[in-house]
């Protein structure tokens, strides 16, 4: 009994040892996460890897969702590469879906942008100059996507850790893009031939090779410079000529590709299994008319192809869906069975899938073609760069220069064909017109507009699957000419058009209201069609008359 009493007292003391909080800091440290003060140069690369992969959507499931919300549901359908088959998905009918846009911008600003900022800030603080240059190029590459989608964006003030964050007007964002590229190229020239020791094993695009990143920077300058040709032709010319002088990507060997892995797969390999989209009628129209073999490397034959509208002497089992199908028709008809899906490499879920495009030689060649057309010093003629662009694209797709009939592709006078009436639809696809009438063969006697249409139409084919860039160029130039949507549910955007921009996301209206309202003023001030925060407001650089 006495022993029991002692035991009880010991127990009491043990429990009563309650003021003791010595171990509390340790207890409250998560052994499965690293606190930020523990980060240094040895683990910098792990943040860089994420900063490079996730904005290209290749990082795990959330990456796939970002890809669906940004690229698949917006760029893919506004470039008319793809058409939506899911009944309730509205972006294909030009509706701005707030929740998707919330998801799209949150994924970027609350996630990817933080990684990019860290990548840049740490490199600056630690004196890692080459890595700082890479970070700047990457920042420009990624932010271009968001400013070209919205207009004014949070850019220079990103990450201020305040409850209000001011926006920059688009012209200022572009100005800074050029400055950042200047600074990056200067550093990389000083490090010519070098490789980053810190990130070489973490950079899935160029393995830390500075020369390759420099080519990327110059190609990006070309892309950005050309974008402002209708608003600031003088700067456009200066920048594009500077880009060419510094040396952009000219060979497919220097193309920027993100190497996918099973851990960081091509996001189409995840979302293709969701069955939400199929090839567009425009892709059918243009490739069928041009007898373009790239359709065979990019798409699968339809499950039940309609062979009544095949070109003479050619089997063309690819079927495309007109954008903007009604909700009713989508519920009634299994378009997934009737229309062409991706090529098989994109359909294998769980596979690493094809590498993801960043920037390619064909695009630079078409940019130089346009520059030459405008009389700029691009180092060659418009026709030469146009034809090189086509060849580079065909080669990139593993194809020779022949069309489906075995004739020379580049010199063919073929024009796009009618996508045909699909016999399987409940309500016929009422389109009989081809998407456009422009031939492949360069018309040296053509007007600037005619040649521009040729260039951008081929660029559209070459850029695939880079719908983000195709959509931006479609807005800038009005090309290629593409088929109207069956239906637009957005009164601001007629069915012949696609939105000029996306809307500011509702979370910003809740959390950063005063600043987003100022941003709308900035947007209106610089716009050729100022309608406030609507899809019908044109961006600062979107100044070509008639678009």
């Amino acid at each position: 009994m006495k022993n029991l009493l002692k035991l009880l007292i010991v127990l009491l003391i043990a429990v009563g040892y309650t003021g003791c909080t010595e171990e509390f800091d340790e207890i409250n440290t998560n052994p499965k996460a690293i606190t930020l003060d523990k980060l240094d140069q040895s683990n910098y690369g792990f943040i860089v890897r994420k900063a490079l992969i996730s904005p290209l959507y290749c990082a795990s499931t959330t990456g796939s969702n970002g890809m669906q919300l940004i690229q698949s549901l917006h760029f893919d359908v506004y470039s008319n590469y793809w058409a939506t088959t899911t009944p309730n998905f509205l972006s294909d009918r030009n509706v701005m879906v707030g929740s998707w846009q919330n998801g799209m911008f949150n994924a970027f600003y609350a996630g990817e942008a933080a990684q990019i900022k860290y990548m840049e800030d740490f490199a600056r603080k630690a004196g890692l100059k080459g890595e700082l240059a890479v970070a700047k190029i990457w920042k420009v590459y990624i932010y271009l996507r968001y400013t070209d989608l919205l207009g004014p964006i949070v850019y220079s003030q990103y990450g201020n850790m305040q409850k209000t964050v001011p926006y920059d007007k688009q012209s200022d964002v572009y100005k800074n893009f050029f400055l950042e590229l200047d600074s990056a190229v200067t550093i990389l020239k000083q490090n010519a031939g070098g490789t980053s020791a810190t990130i070489s094993s973490f950079d899935p695009i160029y393995q830390g090779k500075y020369d390759k990143w420099q080519k990327m920077a110059n190609s990006l300058r070309l892309r950005i410079g050309m974008r402002i040709v209708y608003v600031d032709p003088a700067t456009a010319k200066t920048q594009c000529e500077k880009a060419v002088a510094d040396g952009p990507i000219t060979a497919n060997a220097d193309n920027g590709w993100l190497t996918t892995t099973t851990t960081f797969p091509n996001p189409y390999n995840t979302i293709s299994s969701w069955g939400e989209y199929r090839m567009s009628a425009d892709m059918e129209s243009i490739c069928k008319g041009y007898l373009d073999k790239r359709i065979t490397t990019r798409f699968s034959p339809a499950k039940t192809p309609d062979n009544t509208d095949d070109p003479a002497g050619v089997s063309f089992p690819y079927e495309g869906l007109l954008n903007g199908q009604t909700k009713n028709d989508r519920t009634a008809v299994s378009y997934n069975t009737l229309m062409s899906d991706h090529q098989p490499a994109y359909l294998k879920v769980g596979d690493k899938g094809p590498n993801w495009h960043v920037m390619r030689a064909a695009e630079t060649s078409f940019l130089r073609a346009e520059g030459a057309l405008r009389g700029w010093a691009m180092g060659g003629t418009a026709q030469q760069f146009y034809e090189d662009g086509i060849k580079l694209s065909l080669a990139e797709n593993g194809l020779d220069n022949l069309n489906m009939k075995g004739e020379d592709y580049i010199t063919s006078s073929l024009t796009p064909a009618s996508p045909g009436i699909d016999k399987n639809t409940v309500r016929p696809n009422v389109v009989t017109d081809p998407a456009s009438t422009v031939p492949i063969k360069w018309d040296a006697a053509g007007t600037l507009e005619y040649n521009l249409e040729q260039i951008i139409t081929q660029k559209w084919l070459a850029l695939f699957p880079d719908s983000e860039e195709a959509y931006a160029e479609r807005r800038r130039t009005g090309y290629p000419k593409l088929l109207p949507r069956v239906e637009s549910e957005n009164p601001d955007v007629p069915r012949e058009k696609v939105p000029y921009r996306a809307l500011y996301w509702t979370a910003e209206y809740t959390n950063n209201k005063a600043e987003v309202e100022k941003a709308i003023t900035l947007l209106n001030t610089e716009s050729a069609a100022a309608n406030g925060d609507k899809a019908s407001t044109r961006l600062w650089w979107d100044k070509k008359p008639g678009n």
Binding site: L12, A14, N43, S60, T85, N88, M161, K163, T337
Partner: protein
């Protein structure tokens, strides 16, 4: 069994027989209930081991020492009788059954029993019988309607679903608003898998006041469970065997149209997922089957309505519970052992539950000085297939409720087929479509089995140092191990077209150790009861999760068979140390002052703020004992109490982290922690009275107000600031309400009695403040609604898209006859908080028969019926049948009568449309107009009915049973009123806070009926 008792008694007393025999006494022990002799009753000389047991007729004969003073006759379940021996030699004893007066003693904080009249706050007790008889697998669900101010909503996951319990409404922004569960004095992780048979009583302590002593986790009130221990039942062996058999049917409330079938625009489409097709008149149409071996492959079949294709899917659910309890009490020990086996199958095939509960409780007293109590509980629960709730792609309801009206059960119950290549594929009418599937496939080929092991161990030692001073040490662990699998067969779209397999295990424990010193003393009219204690609480959680998609070999469920299996881990730990004290000073056992104080040190808070103190004070006056009252008043007690409860937060919220993931990437967290967090505080005031008049009517009334300040939660900041949210202190959420309990013995004669118990409660919760610069906090958004806290509004406002209205409140109609809709979810349309909750139990007894019925009433509160929105958009809901012809539907006349439609210019609208266009615009999944589908959650239902019959003693005594009882039970039998019409408003998609009032593809309510048999030996 009775023979065993005799044997035991004989064994016990055999040794003493004869040795000291100096005189012989004889007698007979009878039962006061029927006057019959009782066998096996121990008859002992007090303070000795001299004794015997009665024979089969109840007679005994015993030799006792001459100086033997007192004879003790005790039997389990009967009142103990002590008789002076003197010179008497013949003793005829009539034993009366012991009725435990539950209302008089209440188990309160730390497992201490208190006089009910001394309590300074409102409590309510639910007895074991009520729980075990009309049992539900999850005992929490049995509380619905019985307790004023307690609401239960159930998650839609089939058998084994969770429930959400709220006492006096929601109050926490980021934490839980649910009460703490306390089992045998120690906080535990919930009672969902505890056997109702093991529960002796449940006492609900509603406010922070009642629970100040359990610390932070009880700031939402506490549900105190006492399990059966055998204590207080006298010596002997008691064996009870109970069987409960229940059957359940889906109480399907939804209604479909059965005129139009698959298709759109009035045209048939075999792959269509909606029912806007042509009228079904038996015409021949092409069959949808993709199965090359199906007799109708590419053949025509008759296009006919299938009104039962949804209800065909359900089966009769069954539940069989078997319970064995053995109580073995000796003079100084009581041992209670029980085993419960629960076998249940849900109304959905594959949703089967198997549960085993083993419980051993042992208590012993040594020389009235040392008291030991101990318990071991083991629970094994296996659910063969649990279900995903809500709008998840894996929820079979998602597909079932949207079945086109012409799909034949015979075709779809064949949920798979073999391709020509021999591969197993989903037999559906539309291949690889986002959001389409065969519900039978979802049920049979997306499986989520769960295995749970739970073990609870408790030891308690109490030492009475003197009569007034005692010391107690106690420690208890509640540990749970879960193992889950997710099995997706190949061809499961949208999520796992090439199959997938996840497996994860998690384990967690909560470990509480207490030490408590108690001192009791009275000086004349004044009595003290002072306690001081300390508590150490340690909780840990860890999980390992493996996920793999894409099988190498089809449908072989192993992580190593997937293309890229990925592991992930989770871990958290928290320690809270506390010291506390509480005391009661009473005067004449009629005036009671209670004081408590507790100081916590929590590992989750920063060093400067991790220590926090919180007190409470309560006062009770039993007026009828203090002043002379009219004779009719038996009790009048006034009570008031005020409490402050501090609270901490979850672990790891003080510094920003980066997490490492597969593939070698570091991801920065997007929440900016706050290194200076303070503890949150709940302040609670309640006043009330209890009244008993003419011994027949009991009335309790309570008013309360609680405010929860400085809550710890994440406030969103612009994502462009670099983080998505900042963790901080803020908010003031206020709950005010009133509760009434009324009980009355309407009739009480010898053979017949009628009792009524009524409870009623009203709670108003208001968000007074959120945080500086934040008046709105969004909890979560889905396609139809946003759940928000808005300063100045009740807790949990639901915003949605709604009609666009002009300045006069009229609905603006577009030129196509369809209302214009607000562009965003900007309109507050619903709030689930009820106006009041009420319950009424009627209990009637006639001789050996008893009957009780519980009616549960929830009045007010609204929610958005998402299921209905989707079904309306698909042309399935009954009311979409009308107005399908072109230009036949006019808003305000044909639908939404009472609304007035105007054109953009304000003129009366005359533009018409049709049902298909209208509901396609208003309903559907991705962009529905939530405001069009707001439903009133008011409902009144017969929650529970029990008809019981105790077999008469005359019959029972001729068998080897001690008692036998048969009851017929029913649960959820009928809605007396259901304003929501198409659905049960109390079934939510989950128990998450943001799921409050969230209805989407809920499983139907189960209507349950059955019988139970209970035998005592």
């Amino acid at each position: 069994m009775r023979k065993i008792t005799i044997l035991l008694a004989l064994l016990l007393f055999a040794v003493s027989q004869g040795a000291f025999a100096q005189k012989t006494i004889t007698g007979k022990v009878t039962s006061s209930e029927d006057g019959l002799g009782m066998a096996g009753v121990p008859v002992v000389v007090k303070g000795t081991t001299v004794g015997t047991a009665t024979d089969v007729n109840g007679s005994f004969s015993l030799s006792v020492p001459n100086d033997a003073a007192t004879l003790v006759v005790s039997f389990i379940g009967m009142k103990t009788v002590e008789l002076p021996i003197g010179t008497q030699t013949v003793f005829n004893v009539s034993l009366e059954p012991e009725v435990l007066a539950l209302g008089d003693v209440v188990v309160t904080a730390l497992g201490i029993s208190r006089q009910a009249k001394a309590l300074t706050y409102a409590t309510q007790t639910v007895s074991a019988e009520q729980l075990a008889e009309a049992r539900s697998i999850n005992p929490v669900q049995s509380l619905s309607g019985r307790v004023a101010g307690l609401s239960v909503t159930n998650a839609s996951q089939g058998v084994g679903s969770e429930s959400k319990v709220l006492l006096r409404g929601n109050r926490s922004i980021a934490g839980s608003s649910q009460p703490l569960y306390v089992i045998d004095g120690i906080p535990m992780g919930g009672i969902a898998n505890i056997s109702p048979d093991d529960i002796a009583s449940i006492n609900i302590m509603k406010g922070a006041n009642a629970a100040a002593l359990y610390g932070s986790r009880a700031n939402n009130g506490a549900i105190i469970i006492t399990t059966k221990s055998g204590a207080g039942l006298g010596e002997g062996v008691l064996v009870d065997l109970g069987f409960t058999f229940q059957a359940s049917n889906a109480y399907y409330l939804d209604k479909e149209q059965n005129k139009y079938g698959q298709g759109a625009n009035g045209t048939y489409g075999p792959t269509s997922t909606v029912s806007w097709g042509p009228e079904m008149t038996g015409q021949q149409v092409i069959h949808w089957t993709p199965d090359p071996n199906h007799p109708l492959y590419q053949q025509n079949y008759a296009f006919e309505a299938q009104p039962d294709n949804i209800t065909d899917w359900f089966q009769t659910g069954l539940e069989l519970a078997t319970n064995l309890q053995v109580v073995m009490n000796t003079k100084n020990t009581n041992t209670a052992l029980s085993y419960t086996n629960t076998e249940a199958r849900g109304v959905m095939s594959t949703n089967n539950l198997h549960r085993h509960n083993i419980n051993l409780r042992f208590g012993s007293t040594f020389k009235e000085k040392l008291v030991v109590d101990s318990k071991i509980t083991m629970i094994k629960e296996n659910v063969e297939n649990t279900f995903w709730g809500g709008e998840s792609f894996e929820n079979p309801m998602r597909y079932l409720y949207m079945l086109p009206r012409n799909l034949r059960t015979v075709d779809i119950e064949q949920f798979e087929y073999k391709t020509l290549g021999g591969l197993n594929r989903q037999h559906g009418w539309r291949w690889n479509d986002n959001g389409t599937g065969n519900p039978y496939w979802s049920r049979e080929r997306i499986l989520k089995p769960r295995d749970t092991w739970r073990s609870i161990g408790m030891i308690s030692l109490k030492y009475n140092i003197t009569k007034d001073l005692s010391i107690m040490g106690r420690s208890a662990i509640d540990a749970t191990f879960n193992s889950f699998e997710y099995k997706y067969y190949n061809d499961t779209y949208t999520t796992a077209i090439q199959g997938g397999y996840d497996k994860y295990n998690n384990s967690s424990y909560g470990w509480n150790s207490d030490a408590l010193i108690t001192y009791k003393k009275s000086f004349g009219d004044i009595a003290f009861d002072i306690n001081a204690g300390a508590n150490h609480y340690n909780t840990e959680y860890q999980q390992i999760y493996g996920t793999g998609r894409v099988f190498n070999m089809e449908n072989f469920f192993a992580l190593s068979n997937t293309a890229d299996p990925r592991p992930s881990e989770a871990y958290s730990r928290k320690v809270v140390n506390s010291v506390y004290g509480f005391g009661e000073i009473s005067w004449r056992n009629a005036l009671f002052l209670n004081l408590t104080g507790r100081n916590d040190w929590s590992s989750t808070l920063p060093a400067d703020n991790r220590s926090y103190f919180y007190p409470s004070v309560g006062l009770t006056a039993v007026l009828d004992e203090l002043i002379t009252m009219p004779a009719a008043i038996n009790l009048l007690k006034l009570r008031a109490s005020y409490a402050i409860v501090g609270n901490d937060t979850s672990p790891y919220r003080l510094s920003r982290t980066a997490s490492i993931a597969t593939g070698g990437v570091l991801t920065l967290s997007n929440q900016l922690p706050n290194a200076n967090l303070k503890p949150e505080t709940t302040k609670s005031l309640e006043v009330g009275f209890d009244l008993r008049v003419i011994e027949k009517i009991r009335l309790g009334f309570t008013l309360y107000q609680t405010n929860t300040y400085d809550q710890l939660f994440a406030t969103p900041v612009p994502a462009t600031s670099g983080v998505a949210s900042i963790f901080q202190n803020g908010a003031d959420i206020q709950n005010r309400g009133a509760e009434i309990t009324l009980g009355a013995e309407i009739i009480s004669t010898g053979d017949f009695s009628w009792d009524i118990d009524i409870n009623w409660a009203k709670n108003n919760s208001e968000v007074l403040e959120i945080a500086e610069g934040f008046n709105v906090l969004s909890y979560g958004t889905d396609f139809i609604r946003e759940y928000k806290l808005v300063a100045g509004e009740p807790f949990g406002e639901v915003y949605a898209k709604s009609w666009l209205r002009d300045a006069n409140g009229n609905v603006i109609i577009g030129p196509n006859g369809v209302p214009r809709i607000t562009p965003g979810m900007s309109v507050p349309v619903a709030n689930f908080n009820p106006d009041f909750l009420a319950g009424m139990t009627n209990t009637l007894r006639y001789k050996s028969w008893n009957f009780s019925a519980l009616i549960d009433w929830r009045q007010g509160g609204t929610f958005i019926a998402f299921t209905e929105a989707i079904r309306a958009g698909s042309g399935i809901q009954d009311y979409t049948e009308d107005f399908r012809a072109a230009n036949s539907l006019l808003f305000g006349r044909d639908v939404f009568q009472g609304e007035k439609g105007v054109t953009d210019t304000g003129a009366e609208n005359t533009a018409t449309t049709n049902s298909e266009v209208f509901w396609n615009n208003v309903g559907g999944r991705n962009n529905p107009t939530g405001g069009a589908f707001v439903r009133d959650a008011s409902n009144m239902r017969i929650r529970e009915v029990v008809l019981g019959y105790d077999l008469p003693k005359e019959i029972v005594s001729k068998t080897f049973f001690r008692s036998a009882r048969v009851s017929l039970v029913g649960r959820n039998l009928l809605f007396l009123m259901n304003k929501a019409e198409y659905t049960d408003p109390e079934i939510m998609i989950s128990t998450a806070d943001s799921a409050e009032g969230e209805n989407a593809f809920a499983f139907p309510t189960n209507r349950t009926y059955g019988f139970s048999l209970n035998f005592g030996f």
